[in-house]
């Protein structure tokens, strides 16, 4: 699809620099905490310092009398309002629906994790609110904490007494395939078994969560400014479930948002609290999380413990994958926490392979830890990690080259559409072609020489490879509805051509680092033949945009971008009618090219701008046939998921004396289908790789037995820095277009974080084994201490 002159015109395929970066880099961004409203007050939360405890009493009398204090809320104030719901209903293998304990605005009766908010003070200044929080006397009787998943399942204490178990659900996918998979594994000539941990991650968006609520007593309208990836979803949750504010009385604005990575998809209790407080006080109420609050209360990611088995023939032909996983959901169900370890994970368990049998069992487990939910990749990194680690181990056991073993089992280009054994229908791909590209990018032939060089310097060098597939562009509402989703997953766009010919495009997707303000105009400009600079994207404000489902799951371009295309097609159709009238020609004879409407085979034409003007100044206008104005809305609901895929490789050096791993080379060959802006795509891949390498090597979330978060600051939680990362070789050219959306795009936001962790771990195991040590697996993160320990045997 990229056109030869794309860069010149800034249309589809142009590597246009991101226009939004100017305001971000010059400090002109407008984030939630930058907003100050007239008469604003400040909220500060009292948070539990124990992981599990009974709230015996909360005495706020002293605090209430302190300077500047306006109101204090406790869980008692919210007993009559709804709970924050789970967006996806999962049924257990026995048909029982999952357990859904209520997630209250403020803890009531019990606190369930360190950081659980049980009270909030509203005061004139933040300082005063902090002082008053310290004066709240809470009598909380500490109970033994339930931290480790295995013991949580085995019994012991309960996180939620009323559900009488810590197991939220025990899910099988696909239950009908279970017997066949068990039988196939039993009869298989070779079975590789691996137990692994997919480590818990703290999202660490650069901007912590923040919210300001404003209440207009004259109109009974609320405005909530908040750090959200999906303002309409947040509004829906608050209106329909939590506070019952009518949707048409609640405006949710997500202004510039400094990163989300999933953690800002969800509605959190702090948003409901500031809304309730703003109404009570009739003054705006602001809350901004500290970094410590972010560590303790943002929804964390991953946290799976998995046993995976790969059964195959002696020649390496795959027969079956079977997994048993415990997925930590933390103390409460966050909005997508039940979908992430199930449908975003189990359905990907066939990987890129023609394996005939797949069975996945997932137990979701409540613990006294922060809630866990979707984090960049969401379920798919967990699937890829399990599959690609066990394949690597299997290749070593069978003495087959790991690349050859993968190739042997790849779905081949002539097999699409391909029905995977895990229940998805892959529409397009070419995994061998990506692997070819990868081998060249990483210079596989040069590896032996580089390894010899490393060994000369006393280092062990390893090469790791990986192939991944993900299901993105979520998703077909009809399908996800059958699977238990309680929401639709379409998106929407309104294209408004203004009278003077420039355009405003209102989109349901939200941009918090993805570059929509640059990429979406490229699509519209390309279709209309106008200058992209004449097109502005409007997003993040429910008062301005059509009802969209926001940004996550690498869906913005595939789903919302497709809605933009559909709306623009409607604009073109109507504009052609107007042009036909202006040119006194038949509508069918009008052609649009380079921003000019012309009559086929003649030199008669009018410009896009002239048509726009006519639409809004409809003099001599066929008002009986055509409405004035030029504005169209489209909702787009995809026919299938999209299936980005790729092959990654990396080379690491391991220092045998210290266990320190350095990533020396990293190559990523991705298939994202068609590419709208290759520079933005490269940036998205780089970001994902940074997060994935961070997970593989240094990011460690540790709770102690009593439920204290040991890694609750940057002193102990390692975020990847530039010098932890290598220069990347990234190639996403010549993708296989998605077959079912109008742009042929697949989504690129999560790929890097999905494909890189197993690549790194495979490389480290390769390096260690090259030193003659019998190490078959090391759990992430591969910190120096862990790698050294593993090497000690």
């Amino acid at each position: 699809m990229p056109k030869d002159n794309a860069d010149e015109k800034g249309g589809i395929g142009a590597a246009t620099t991101r226009r939004e970066d100017f305001r971000f880099l010059t400090g002109a961004g407008q984030y939630t905490d930058d907003i100050t409203l007239q008469g604003q007050t400040h909220a500060v939360f009292a948070r539990s310092d124990v992981a599990n405890g009974v709230i015996k009493s909360i005495d706020t009398s002293t605090a209430m009398g302190m300077p500047g204090v306006l109101a204090i809320f406790t869980g008692e104030d919210f007993v009559d309002v709804g709970g924050n719901p789970a967006g996806w209903l999962i049924n257990s293998r026995d048909g029982e629906p999952m357990k859904e304990p209520k997630r209250p605005v403020l803890a009531h009766g019990k606190v369930r994790h360190v950081g659980d908010a049980y009270a909030a003070v509203i005061a004139e200044t933040k300082q005063q609110a902090q002082d008053a929080v310290e004066a709240i006397e809470a009598d909380i009787e500490e109970l033994p904490a339930v931290i480790d998943m295995a013991s949580a399942v085995a019994g012991g204490g309960l996180v939620h007494d009323e559900i009488e178990t810590n197991v939220c659900f025990d899910w099988g996918w696909i239950e009908d395939n279970r017997a066949a998979t068990d039988a196939a594994i039993k009869a298989a000539p070779h079975v590789t078994t691996l137990e692994l941990v997919n480590n818990r991650l703290v999202p660490n968006a650069m901007e912590p969560r923040a919210s300001i609520a404003d209440y207009n007593a004259g109109t009974d309208e609320y405005t909530l400014y908040t750090t959200s990836q999906n303002p309409h979803l947040t509004r829906l949750l608050i209106s329909a479930f939590v506070l019952g504010i009518p949707e048409n009385k609640l405006r949710v604005v997500a202004p510039d948002v400094g990163g989300g990575f999933g953690s800002k998809i969800y509605h959190y209790g702090e948003e409901a609290l500031v809304l309730a407080a703003a109404k009570k006080l009739k003054r705006p109420v602001k809350w901004t999380a500290s970094r410590s609050e972010a560590f303790l209360t943002d929804a964390h990611g991953r946290d799976h413990v998995t046993k995976i088995e790969l059964a195959c023939e002696k020649d390496g032909t795959f027969i079956a994958f079977r997994t048993e996983t415990m997925a930590n959901v933390g103390a409460y169900l966050s909005n997508f926490s039940t979908a992430t370890p199930t449908f975003l994970h189990g359905t990907l368990m066939a990987g890129n392979y023609t394996v005939p049998n797949v069975y996945v069992n997932v137990k979701a487990v409540f613990t006294n830890t922060a809630p866990v939910d979707a984090y960049r990749g969401a379920g798919r990194p967990e699937a890829t990690y399990s599959i690609e680690r066990v394949i690597d181990m299997c290749a070593r056991e069978l003495g087959i080259d790991p690349i050859e073993l993968r190739r042997k089992n790849f779905v081949k280009p002539d097999q699409y559409p391909f029905a995977s054994a895990a229940g998805l229908e892959y529409d397009s791909g070419n995994y061998d072609a990506q692997m070819d590209k990868l081998e060249a990018l990483i210079d596989r032939d040069g590896f032996a020489a580089r390894r010899a060089e490393s060994e000369k310097n006393g280092k062990l060098r390893g090469l790791g490879v990986n192939a991944y597939i993900e299901a993105c562009g979520i998703a077909p509402s009809n399908l996800v509805g059958i699977l238990g989703s309680r929401v639709g997953l379409y998106d929407a766009a309104t294209v408004r051509v203004n009278a003077t010919g420039n355009l405003s495009v209102m989109v349901g997707a939200h941009s918090h680092g993805q570059g929509h303000e640059t990429a979406f105009p490229q699509v519209v400009a390309d279709m209309l033949g106008v200058d992209p600079a004449s097109i502005d994207i409007v997003h993040g404000d429910t008062a301005k945009i059509p009802f969209g489902m926001g940004t996550y799951g690498s869906r913005s371009l595939a789903v919302c971008g497709s809605a933009v295309v559909r709306a623009t097609e409607k604009i073109i159709a109507k504009a052609k009618k107007i042009a036909a009238h202006m040119l006194e020609a038949a509508e069918g004879d009008i052609e649009l090219s380079d921003g000019q409407f012309s009559v086929a085979g003649t030199d008669k034409s009018v410009s896009f701008g002239e048509v726009a003007l006519k639409a809004y100044i409809p003099h001599q206008f066929p008002i009986e046939d055509i409405e004035p104005g030029l504005e169209e809305t489209a909702f787009y609901d995809p026919a299938n998921f999209t299936y980005p895929s790729g092959a990654y490789a990396c080379e690491v050096e391991v220092d045998p004396e210290t266990g320190k791993v350095t990533v020396e080379r990293f190559a990523a060959a991705d298939d994202f289908g068609n590419i709208i802006n290759p520079m933005i795509v490269t940036g998205q891949v780089h970001g994902g790789l940074g997060q994935g390498i961070g997970q593989a090597l240094i990011e460690q979330t540790a709770y102690d037995e009593s439920g204290q978060l040991l890694s609750a600051s940057y002193m102990d939680y390692a975020m990847p820095r530039a010098d932890d990362l290598p220069f990347y070789q990234v190639d996403h050219s010549d993708g296989t277009p998605c077959t079912h959306n109008p742009l042929g795009v697949k989504g690129c936001g999560e790929a890097g974080a999905i494909g890189s962790p197993p690549t790194v771990v495979n490389a480290v195991v390769d390096a260690i084994q090259s030193g003659g040590m019998d190490v078959t697996h090391v759990d992430m993160p591969l910190t120096p201490a862990r790698v050294w320990n593993a090497m000690q045997g």
Binding site: Q127, Q130, E134, S292, E657, T658, K660, L697, I698, Q700, A702, L710, S711, Y714, M715, D716, Y717, A718, M719, T783, P784, A785, W788, N789
Partner: protein
């Protein structure tokens, strides 16, 4: 943070007087103290900034050939100007990031005596003299365990004097998150023997590894220490590494420091 007053005296005498007030505390670069205050873990009523006292800033040579560093000198200045003691300049350049090095001071670092901090290793390995407003303290008598020193209430470090070794090197193994020393070893070879100071590792804070000193004084080569073993028993054990791992790293880092210094 709680509210506090700030004063910026320009002489040591005024600073000492200001510190006599109840709950007053010295402020160096604030790189440790300010984050602690932000988390409301410290609540001094008054901060006495040492950053405006000219006699406490800068690097110079004493007549005895020591490198003398004012107590309020930031790490970046030491890194750039302590050229007479390259091992020390190099160590200062490895502390934190540029912002930390431009603000944080040697006096603050030594007074704080974080068990993972870098300067304590330099002071102990070089046998430095810590000069305060009231006395001179030998490095060997200064460090008294994690976050503990022999400083009295209100006493401030005005200068640190480092004898210059023939050769020296600081080998730092980074804790992946904080990038303080998971283990850091400073080796300093003087005419009358070798001193080895270890930071990051011990539950008792920075310490001299006497066994290695003896071995290296006899034979200044990495081989001389390769067979020495430390016990992991009193070493720090946390999510970044066990005591056993740290003990092992002390050995590796010492060998590397010697190699780099020779």
């Amino acid at each position: 943070m709680y509210e506090f007053d700030l004063t910026r005296p320009t002489t040591i005498a005024d600073a000492v007087a200001a510190l006599n007030e109840e709950d007053a505390q010295a402020l160096g670069g604030g790189q440790t103290l300010i984050p602690t205050m932000k988390q409301r873990l410290a609540m001094p009523s008054k901060l006495v900034s040492l950053g405006a006292i000219p006699e406490m800033k800068g690097v110079c040579m004493s007549d005895a050939g020591e490198v003398c560093i004012g107590g309020a000198t930031p790490h970046a200045v030491v890194s750039a100007e302590a050229t007479a003691f390259p091992g020390l300049a190099d160590l200062a350049g490895q502390i934190g990031d540029p912002a930390v090095r431009n603000r944080g001071t040697i006096g603050g670092s030594l007074a704080n005596n974080d068990p993972s901090a870098c300067y304590p290793a330099a002071a102990l390995a070089a046998g430095a003299t810590i000069v305060t407003n009231s006395r001179e303290i030998a490095a060997d008598d200064f460090f008294e365990g994690m976050f503990e020193t022999s400083l009295e209430e209100g006493e401030i470090i005005t200068e640190v004097r480092f004898p210059v070794p023939e050769v020296s090197h600081y080998e730092k193994f980074l804790q992946p998150a904080s990038r303080f020393a998971l283990v850091g070893v400073m080796v300093a070879k003087f005419a009358d023997g070798v001193r080895v100071a270890v930071t990051g590792a011990s539950e008792n804070g920075v310490f001299r590894w006497k066994e290695a000193e003896q071995a290296l004084s006899a034979n200044f080569s990495a081989d001389a220490v390769s067979d020495l073993a430390l016990s992991g028993d009193e070493m720090i054990s946390d999510l970044h590494g066990s005591g056993e791992y740290r003990a092992h790293l002390v050995n590796v880092m010492t060998g590397r420091a010697v190699k780099a210094a020779s």
